[in-house]
Symmetry: C2
Amino acid sequence: MAQLRQLHLGAFLRPTTIHTGAWRYPGAFPDANFNFAHLKRFAQTLERGRFDAFFMADHLAVLNMPVEALKRSHTATSFDPLTLLPALATATERLGLIATASTTFEQPYLVARRFASLDHLSGGRAGWNIVTTSNPDAALNFGLEEHMEHDERYRRGREFFDVVTGLWDSWADDAFLRDTQSGVFFDPDKLHVLNHKGPYFSVRGPLNIARPIQGWPVIVQAGASEAGRQLAAETAEVIFGATSSIEEGRRFYADIKARMAKLGRAPDSLKILPGAFVVIGRTEEEAQEKRARLDSLVHAESGIASLSIALGHDASLFDPDAPLPEIPQTNDSQSGRERVLRLAAREGLTVRQLAQRLGGYAGLAMVGTPRAIADQMEEWLTTEASDGFNVMFSHVPDGIDEFVDLVVPELQRRGIFRRDYAGSTLRDHLGLKRPENRFFRDAVTA
Amino acid sequence: MAQLRQLHLGAFLRPTTIHTGAWRYPGAFPDANFNFAHLKRFAQTLERGRFDAFFMADHLAVLNMPVEALKRSHTATSFDPLTLLPALATATERLGLIATASTTFEQPYLVARRFASLDHLSGGRAGWNIVTTSNPDAALNFGLEEHMEHDERYRRGREFFDVVTGLWDSWADDAFLRDTQSGVFFDPDKLHVLNHKGPYFSVRGPLNIARPIQGWPVIVQAGASEAGRQLAAETAEVIFGATSSIEEGRRFYADIKARMAKLGRAPDSLKILPGAFVVIGRTEEEAQEKRARLDSLVHAESGIASLSIALGHDASLFDPDAPLPEIPQTNDSQSGRERVLRLAAREGLTVRQLAQRLGGYAGLAMVGTPRAIADQMEEWLTTEASDGFNVMFSHVPDGIDEFVDLVVPELQRRGIFRRDYAGSTLRDHLGLKRPENRFFRDAVTA
């Protein structure tokens, strides 16, 4: 029997949950983002659940919202991703480890070396989530008064990628002889000096670390804009994107794969894993109650600001305990507004509940029994809306434990998710090839 | 009985040995710089030996010598210090973890966050070795054709230090309430926005991680120049320097402590630990034979280049197996030349042996029985030539094992080195105070 198409699962864990009220949920660890013992436990549970990877987003600032909302945020203190992941590497054996690093604020030589180090330390489990960082608050922490223009960030990001991958290829796989008899440590013919000179970077090389075990750590991106999609189609091996419905997922999937075909890339050499917020209950009703409880823990006034933006109308003037009133049309963008109106009508939410939903998490959510969640995931997989998901847990630790103990076995029973890891590297888990070294094509590859 | 003055010991481990021939020594691990299992073993042995800290130098380039010498270097591939240390943090419980980071090529926001992360992950064991990186080969990996001028590097370094420590003070120690009832995660009155604007950096802050466990990770420097000594006297808590004799050590020690007194700093708030290359034998003769054997593993031609520079004369013209001939005076600097002439006379070395000594390691060395080495260390300590040493091992693993099993017990018997750790942080080991938060003087300090 031919193997069914296989689902790939990332675990979105920086922050540990995307839901802003979840740290207050009964039984949740309020300090989970910043407690190494907890994070280690999560990583080990995910490995037991055969997840492809532990994924860390990043944010290079604190002041990204008004202080009244900010002071309620569980993300204000957390670990540097590339400092946490080496520590988690020693606590796990198979789980992929993906960190975000910015092409706008970092230096390619240092980024190349850090990810290569993580790849070697972890036995080939590193992934680099390339972000071009669009946050003006972060820019102020790096001496930039004006944030770099969008297309320029992408051009710089593309050149940054070329430099980093070029540096990873500095050494042939068999460059290091360590011949104690002759005293020759490496073969100079197997060392390539990059000598990169471009509009944004000038980097001589070589890198002072051997080629990564995976050749290159896995390249991850989230691009949704035109420039972002194109960069991803050219360079990415995983897309962790935000897709709000299965229809949108199918359109995005088809668009990226078409772009890849034009570039001559095999469709399977890039896995598309939208973020999915998962709330699990023994019954449908219990799951819905959980979500309502999570939303009720969101500070309503903070949510009102999000709601006002979505509606193009000051929502603080409405009765919070009543349904949304009729709102006159404005010239603002209609799509966000219509989504909110549909959501309000579908679930019969009050103004406060709507505000808390938007302030909690309003993106793609799967709320239900393990079976219902597996049904949805299977539908996305089999109808080419995605290759899997970057799972965002309702709360921790319970949301992770429930997913691993209840949803994963259901996916395994259906034959669409691994029962054990078949290989040892993140590329093995994702079914991605080890990139050839562009400078040493004849080198032995592992 | 009053406690005797206590010795402090760092372990110089990037590279694992300073001696360029040591990777070829019988029984040595040729890949030690790049083998995590070995490095973990070394860290655990050092912890058993109650060392203050594991120290990683850094070098942001490969091409720093002619390829004929370079291809014999065991340092061409090694881990990024701040990626390795978090992994070693999980394998140890008390050992301090000091990494080098450059103020010339890095960004202060990222450096502040990474060291704060390491400090939290390790329970307060991080140290930052501040280097202003003077290497032109490194500059070429960071888009700088011309290396930054010496004094400018120091001015930039000083401002970098001010920004990093200011960012570490972003949060009062009791800022994070995590009050699940009220939903308030932190107290905004305990958050300070740095708003730094200086000639080199403009950084708003705050840092997105809580204040380090140690307040600040321990500040380490190596400055030997006038600007370097002054920066160290102003800001350092440990100096890992190169001092070639006990007389020079005493002068350096007195100079630094006098600079500190002028600045109103307590002399004990900075520990001076010169690098010491240690070769241990059961007898004096065995130790000398070990060193001769180590030197014999150095590629002689590479050493000839060093010898030629030191002499101001092309040493490749001399008979390698004869003693150094009479050399006419030149206008070049005389001090290096005289040191070499004294060394050749004292040890009766041939030209080849001299070249191998210079190419191996020609700085401060302690070669002898455990007792003789302890005698020297005690003399340095009691005559105020140093507060301890940054030990450079002859070869690994044996050099580390011998030091911990033979020299450490001898130091302990004399009452000048701890039998067990008294505290849990690197500051505890070094007897350094936790810095007050400049913005929150009334905060509870741990």
